[in-house]
């Protein structure tokens, strides 16, 4: 297969943090290692979207940050647009990467400088990227504002963040991410801070714009229903590893990993006549420091057998659109 069809290619990406109990020394030799992300691999085709799902602390945000080069991976390779970004320090490459890859934050109330007007906030990326003359920049700002449905744009230019509602602010955050015309966007829980009645409008807007701009997107969310609505592909993460991935439709309809099955069964059903079953898995997510050998899900798995405690399961292909890391299923 031609490689260049994939914008993002990640192989065996790891991020380990050293935890030291000594407050004054950054990394003592005795420090424990926290494996936040421990070998994830996936590819995203151009224009497609991937949802990273999982409970809090499973490493989905860390993965997102590595995709944006906000963290240096400990191990593994990361190709962006067929360029090896893993260990690039070339300033030119990084600068053009920063323009092409953008992040949308979770909390719009904290992501915007309260002392900047909306116009200034949106101007900032253009100033940093030296994008055109003053007039051109202003036109771009107005254009992007109307694109995210903040119309008429000139009403918003002079406003301060506290004068806008949460939904409007999240549109500004989206506009700021899009103003450099990126080809890759990471959205970290884009609507979890918003009110239910306006979530849908932000989601629909993001869907429309990523189609128009042919954006490749990664959605980080714990909400499976949201990922089902937004993404082509899904990767279920647990304790720093991907346990199941594939086409969203396929994975949600036919989940094979016991963890995925539990996640899906746990989503409350909005039909009062169909009662949710109690989720079978017990215990809590173990601490990601010094994990035992074998499958990471062993202590909560309802179907674990001997092999699960000894050998780590490898990612295997079930069918064209579905991969799974489990010994049993």
């Amino acid at each position: 297969m031609d490689n260049s069809q994939f914008l993002i290619q990640v192989k065996g990406l790891k991020k380990h943090f050293t935890i030291s109990h000594n407050l004054f020394r950054q990394s003592s030799k005795k420090g424990n290692i926290l494996k936040a992300v421990d070998g994830v691999s996936f590819k995203i085709a151009r224009g497609n979207s991937l949802g990273l799902a999982g409970e809090s602390g499973c490493g989905k945000t860390t993965t997102g940050k590595m995709l944006l080069k906000l963290y240096e991976p400990t191990e593994g390779t990361y190709f962006f647009n067929d360029i090896d970004m893993t260990h690039t320090y070339d300033r030119k490459v990084i600068k053009s990467f920063r323009k092409q890859a953008q992040l949308m934050f979770q909390n719009p109330f904290e992501a915007i400088n309260p002392r900047f007007t909306i116009g200034r906030t949106l101007m900032e990326p253009l100033i940093i990227q030296h994008n055109g003359s003053g007039k051109e920049k202003e036109d771009l700002v107005k254009h992007i504002l109307s694109k995210v449905n903040l119309q008429p744009a000139k009403n918003y230019l002079e406003k301060y963040p506290h004068q806008l509602s949460g939904g409007q602010l999240q549109r500004v955050v989206l506009a700021r991410a899009l103003i450099t015309k990126p080809i890759f966007l990471v959205a970290d829980e884009p609507v979890s801070m918003l009110d239910v009645s306006i979530r849908a409008s932000v989601l629909n807007l993001m869907k429309r714009i990523s189609n128009e701009m042919e954006l490749t997107t990664v959605y980080i969310s714990h909400d499976l229903a949201l990922i089902r609505y937004m993404c082509h592909g899904i990767a279920i993460m647990y304790l720093g590893k991907i346990v199941e991935k594939g086409l969203t439709k396929e994975v949600i309809k036919n989940p094979c990993h016991p963890y995925t099955q539990a996640l899906i069964a746990a989503v409350p059903n909005s039909d009062p006549e169909i009662k949710n079953e109690e989720v079978k898995i017990k215990n809590y997510v173990p601490s990601p420091i010094n994990l035992p050998p074998g499958c990471i899900f062993q202590n909560r798995c309802p179907i674990a057998t001997e092999i699960c405690f000894k050998v780590e399961p490898k990612m295997k292909k079930i069918n064209e659109n579905h991969w799974l890391a489990c010994h049993i299923n």
Binding site: I198, R199, N204, L224, R228, K249, V267, D271, N276
Partner: protein, 337 residues
């Protein structure tokens, strides 16, 4: 006689710009052992209702009118001392952000001891026994009673708070967003736990949340709030299958549903009215695609649609047509343009 009867309750806030009419005349009743879900978007006053009932209000809040008849007595007239007497014993609260509600500098058992000895008049020995019992009841290891809150995970803290709320066998528990900050699997476990305990001890429950599917799974009755008013109430099936108010219909459209993925999400455009000067007439009118002239002039009252199902809308006689139309996306997008 119902356990809780709320009549025309009004809770206002004093602020610099004037008086905020956060809860502006709501009424509902709750039988012993029944569970009620109070649903609405943030700022609609659902937490204020809870805090008004149990009278743990902010300094600038006051009850402007109405009655809260609990077990035959009107709580509104109670002095601080008298209401303190029934808190925990007869009615308890699982607060919002329950995870941050345990005192971080004391072991968890101290919280239990305090309530059981001060409110339950137990000695320390039997208090400890009861605390162990409660921990087992909510599925926690009694050995961990002496741990500090930071040693617990989010779900465990939530369980501990639920155990606290049950400590003195109250008749009514008010749970304010009990699962909002939790992961789905923990959320499922906590909800199952709440439901199981509620049925076992026949406690009445008021569950406050913005998530329709959570109340669909746990509550018998649902009341939908908008801008300080009840717009619709009825059984879970009434509200979720045969909603009779445009706001409820809109809210249902805005939810992504795992089981019905082909449904496209439709937002309710606009935002709730300013409650310092609430608009005359129906408070949802400015966002409602079905408004008529009457909506902006007169205030709709709750009318019976079917037995036990009430809705506050002027166009109830056309509700079939409205329901049909509300499913279409263009109805909602053209409402305000």
């Amino acid at each position: 006689m119902p356990l809780l009867e709320i009549e025309d309750l009004k809770v206002y806030y004093r602020s610099f710009v004037g008086i905020t009419h956060a809860v502006d005349g709501i009424s509902f009743t709750l039988e012993a052992g029944q569970s009620l879900g109070l649903v609405g978007e943030s700022g609609c006053g659902k937490s204020t209702v809870a805090r008004g009932i149990i009278r743990i209000m902010d300094r600038n809040a006051f009850i402007a009118g109405g009655k809260v008849i609990f077990d035959g007595e009107d709580l509104v007239g109670f002095s601080e001392d008298r209401i303190r007497n029934i808190r925990w014993r007869d009615l308890s609260l699982i607060p919002q952000a329950a995870m941050d509600s345990l005192n971080p500098v004391y072991p968890v058992i101290d919280a239990f001891n305090e309530i059981l000895t001060l409110k339950g008049r137990m000695d320390l020995c039997s208090a400890k026994r009861r605390a162990k019992e409660l921990f087992l009841m909510v599925g926690l290891d009694p050995k961990r009673l002496h741990d500090y809150p930071h040693e617990f995970s989010g779900g465990m803290k939530q369980r501990a708070i639920i155990a606290l709320a049950l400590a003195l066998n109250p008749k009514l528990i008010i749970a304010d967003e009990p699962v909002t900050a939790l992961d789905v699997i923990v959320q499922n476990q906590i909800l199952t736990e709440i439901k199981r305990l509620q049925q076992k001890f026949k406690v009445a429950l008021i569950m406050i949340t913005h998530d329709i599917s959570v109340v669909a799974q746990t509550c018998d009755i649902i009341a939908v709030m908008y801008a300080g008013k009840l717009v619709e109430k009825g059984t879970a099936v009434d509200i979720l299958k045969n909603a009779a108010h445009p706001y409820t219909l809109g809210l249902e459209n805005a939810f992504p549903n795992l089981n019905n993925p082909n449904k496209s999400l439709i937002a309710i455009e606009g935002f709730p009215p300013n409650l310092v000067n609430p608009p005359k007439g129906c408070r949802f009118a400015s966002r409602c695609p079905f408004k008529i002239q009457e909506c902006q002039q007169k205030e709709p009252i709750l009318k019976e649609v079917s037995v036990g199902h009430y809705s506050a809308c002027f166009r109830l006689n056309e509700i079939e047509k409205i329901r049909e139309k509300a499913r279409e996306e263009k109805t909602w997008t053209t409402a305000n343009s």
